[in-house]
């Protein structure tokens, strides 16, 4: 837990360094009118230097930058999707990504844990082999391919699920809590619709979430299934599992209480990092499904060489990973009585 703060410092140092590799000219270019020349230009540059502390040593600049970050000034992004302060872009795009990730995480957990247990209990049987091969196939497929295949099957061929976006625009046009593709107050359309009691919109938003979240989960599920299978097999050989059997505890309880809970310990840790990693995966998925989340914004930031956006995104992902690990440590201590901080 004490590693939390050094990790944060390391993260910010890296982001700051990356920012500086881009050079100060990039920054100046954003504020400097190309039409200025001569003395006026030099004057403005000097002014900007002073304003952004560019004439100070780099390590001093780092602290100025850090203070800015803490004050909530994360710079400016300028992409076709959105231009304005980075914090505001995050506020708009991040909730969409968050709900997508949460959905995917729920699917992953609900599917891979039981499947992992099942494959371990029925080791080497046909069902075990089928599940392992299928999940590995999805694991080997790139995300965008799974996404496109799902779109072709469910949206084009069967026409049961919508292709792209977060909602059918005709349903939300004119609603008082929806402007310019942003819903209020939480910016998560599904939750906002439920808050305002508009179940039709909520259902539609839910349908739009299914395919991206399923795609996201299919791609990584294999890792968790395999891990669960491995740890489960390991625990099922443990003495305490045999001892539970020797006590005459029913086999179902032996597996679900004694073996599974112990096998879950390493899986929980990995699950946390997997979910945090999913946030990186959304960059691809959101592009495939034109889902207006942080991934889509970051893609356009990269394509447009938008330093503010890229750095804001890097810092955000870093922060998420660090908080996840902190959260996991706390969770781990909760479920394992041997660990007490």
């Amino acid at each position: 837990m004490l590693l939390f703060i050094p990790t944060l410092i390391g993260l910010t140092v890296i982001v700051f360094t990356l920012l500086h590799i881009g050079g100060t000219t990039k920054l100046l270019a954003m504020y400097l009118s190309p039409r200025l020349t001569g003395a006026a230009r030099a004057h403005v540059i000097a002014e900007l230097d002073a304003k952004f502390h560019l004439n100070q040593p780099v390590y001093v600049q780092y602290f100025y930058w850090l203070i800015q970050i803490l004050e909530g000034n994360w710079g400016i992004t300028n992409t076709p999707l959105y231009s304005g302060p980075v914090t505001q872009a995050i506020e708009i795009f991040f909730p969409n990504t968050l709900i997508l990730t949460i959905f995917a995480a729920i699917i992953i957990w609900l599917v891979s844990i039981p499947l992992g247990v099942h494959t371990a209990v029925n080791r080497d049987k046909p069902s075990d082999n089928t599940i392992r091969v299928a999940s590995l196939t999805f694991y080997a497929m790139p995300w965008y391919l799974i996404g496109v295949v799902l779109i072709i099957i469910f949206a084009v061929y069967f026409r049961v699920l919508p292709i792209a976006g977060t909602v059918n625009p005709s349903l939300v046009s004119g609603l008082p809590w929806y402007h310019n593709g942003i819903s209020y107050p939480t910016h998560i359309l599904l939750i906002d619709a439920l808050l305002h009691g508009d179940f039709g919109v909520a259902w539609n938003a839910f349908l739009h979430l299914i395919m991206p979240s399923v795609t996201l989960s299919l791609g990584v599920m294999a890792a968790l299934i395999r891990l669960m299978r491995g740890t489960m097999l390991e625990t099922m050989d443990q003495d305490f599992v045999n001892f539970a059997r020797a006590k005459g505890v029913p086999e179902k309880v032996v597996i679900n209480l004694h073996a599974k809970n112990n096998a879950l310990l390493p899986v929980v840790t990995n699950f946390g990092y997997l979910v945090a990693g999913l946030l990186g995966g959304v960059v691809v998925i959101e592009d495939v499904f034109s889902y207006p989340g942080i991934g889509m914004w970051l893609t356009s930031a990269m394509l447009n060489n938008d330093m503010g956006g890229i750095m804001g995104g890097t810092l955000l992902f870093g922060l998420i990973l660090v908080t996840t690990s902190l959260f996991l440590d706390i969770l781990y201590a909760k479920i394992d009585p041997r660990i007490r901080y």
Binding site: R123, D124, K125, D237, Q238, D239, F240, N242, F243, A244, R245, A246, K247, G248, V249, P250, E251, L257, H258, N261, N262, I335, D336, P337, R338
Partner: protein, 460 residues
């Protein structure tokens, strides 16, 4: 019940010509090769042998806890008149090629069948106290499980008795105890008042030595008038009558209440039992996790769990081997004490003959998956007959100076054991016939049998 056990002369477990082979990638390990053994009621049977001779496999086979690659090639284990491993044996006979997955399916069925016997009639203590307890569950829960699944009726009646008993009752009970002790009148009173569930609770308090009498009296007086919610009461009475757990999943809320009541009661009973075994602060210990206890304490917990349902047979698989010498002595003391307090049968597996000499009535010596000599303790120690046993005796270190002799040679490769006597390659008295034919057990004395051609059969 206990008196009946003594007079019943039929063996608790009868093993007939048991062959158990492990199928692994590196070949078939023939772990047990024709074991014949009877465990008689009320005895302590010691099983000794080198590591890898199959003594643990034998113990586990009796419990039915064998891995999926273990094939029952031949032979029976009859526990309480039932041949539990029959499906496995029949599968092996039927199958052209042994498949662990198929074996596993049958093993699952065996597990289900045996779960009624395990923990209730036979139970087992494993070697490693550090790994035998589930690290995520409290010690109390792990002891309670054995009670919860086998004896819910007892728990329900204990709980109900505390609800039924009135202040008047407990006062009368204290009076009776003071006048006559825990005799017939005490039992009669409980029976008349329909509060038999209080019996062991009161006795466990009354017998405690470290408490002052006044404190004990107060504790007994406190055993009354503990109300139960009326919803749960009906179910508890049903459990008391049938000794069966209701399907909790079908009773969403009441089920939880009933389950919690029974588990709480199981914790109480566990704490009482731990107190009987002389573990300090049992009420606190039941809420601890295994990692908070020392190795010796954990082994005590494991033994408690195995003993809590008064099983007919307890298999102790090297219970002292992983502990240091002082703790080892304490655990042996505990086993001896239990032997006196609870009338049951013990199978004590150990590689340490000096440990066996302390506790056992009969000793069986195993070598390479066979029993080579079995007899009363005195006979085994005073006049060992089998060359292997004789050599083992010479290898025991003693306080008096004597030359320790190691047994020459090595344990045979169990993938490809000798055709005749297993000990033949290492035996100084080997004869031609030893190479050809495996010897049967020959009688050499009162209840003393040896598998060696020196003592019977055709001598050539």
């Amino acid at each position: 019940m206990m008196e009946n056990r003594k007079h019943d002369s039929s063996p608790i477990v009868k093993i007939e010509n048991l062959h158990l082979h492990y199928y692994t990638r590196r070949g078939v390990y023939k772990a047990l090769n024709g074991v014949n053994l009877e465990i008689r009621r009320g005895e302590v049977l010691g099983v000794a042998g080198e590591s890898g001779c199959g003594k643990s496999t034998l113990g586990r086979a009796i419990m039915g806890i064998i891995p999926r690659n273990a094939a029952i090639v031949e032979g029976k284990i009859i526990v309480d008149g039932v041949d539990y491993l029959k499906p496995l044996r029949e599968y092996f006979k039927r199958a052209k090629k042994f498949k662990p997955t198929k074996n596993q399916d049958l093993l699952k069925k065996v597990n289900e069948e045996m779960s009624k016997v395990r923990g209730q009639k036979i139970s087992m203590v494993f070697q490693e106290p550090m790994t035998t307890l589930n690290p995520l569950l409290t010690v109390g829960y792990q002891i309670s499980e054995a009670l919860f699944y086998h004896n819910p009726g007892l728990l329900a009646s204990r709980r109900l008795a505390r609800a039924r008993a009135t202040k008047e009752d407990t006062k009368n009970i204290v009076k009776i105890l003071k006048e006559e002790g825990e005799g017939e009148r005490f039992r009669q009173y409980l029976k008349n008042r329909n509060i038999m569930g209080l019996e062991d609770q009161i006795i466990s308090i009354w017998r405690r030595r470290e408490l002052h009498d006044l404190k004990k009296e107060q504790m007994i007086l406190d055993l009354c008038c503990e109300p139960i919610s009326s919803m749960a009461r009906g179910y508890l009475e049903q459990i008391e009558k049938t000794n069966l757990l209701p399907k909790f999943s079908k009773l969403p809320i009441v089920g939880r209440i009933v389950k919690r009541e029974i588990l709480k009661e199981a914790y109480k009973k566990s704490a009482e039992f731990l107190g009987l075994l002389g573990i300090p602060d049992p009420d606190k210990v039941v809420y601890m996790y295994p990692h908070e206890l020392s190795g010796g304490q954990r082994q005590r917990i494991v033994i408690t769990t195995a003993m809590i349902n008064n099983p007919n047979l307890v298999i102790l698989d090297e219970p002292t081997s992983a502990l240091d010498v002082t703790i080892q002595a304490q655990i042996l003391e505990l086993v001896k004490e239990l032997k006196e307090k609870i009338n049951s049968t013990y199978m004590f597996i150990s590689h340490d003959l000096s440990v066996l000499s302390e506790v056992s009535d009969r000793i069986a010596i195993m070598y390479a998956g066979q029993i080579v000599e079995i007899g009363p303790r005195s006979a085994i120690f005073n006049s060992p007959k089998h060359p292997y046993t004789q050599m083992l005796m010479e290898a025991i270190p003693t306080i008096e100076a004597h030359e320790l002799k190691a047994i020459k040679g090595e344990v045979p490769d169990m993938r490809n054991p000798p055709k005749g006597c297993m000990f033949y390659p290492r035996c100084p008295y080997a004869m031609p016939i030893c190479k050809e034919k495996r010897p049967q057990l020959f009688k050499v004395g009162e209840d003393h049998y040896v598998a060696c051609y020196l003592y019977g059969g055709e001598k050539k």
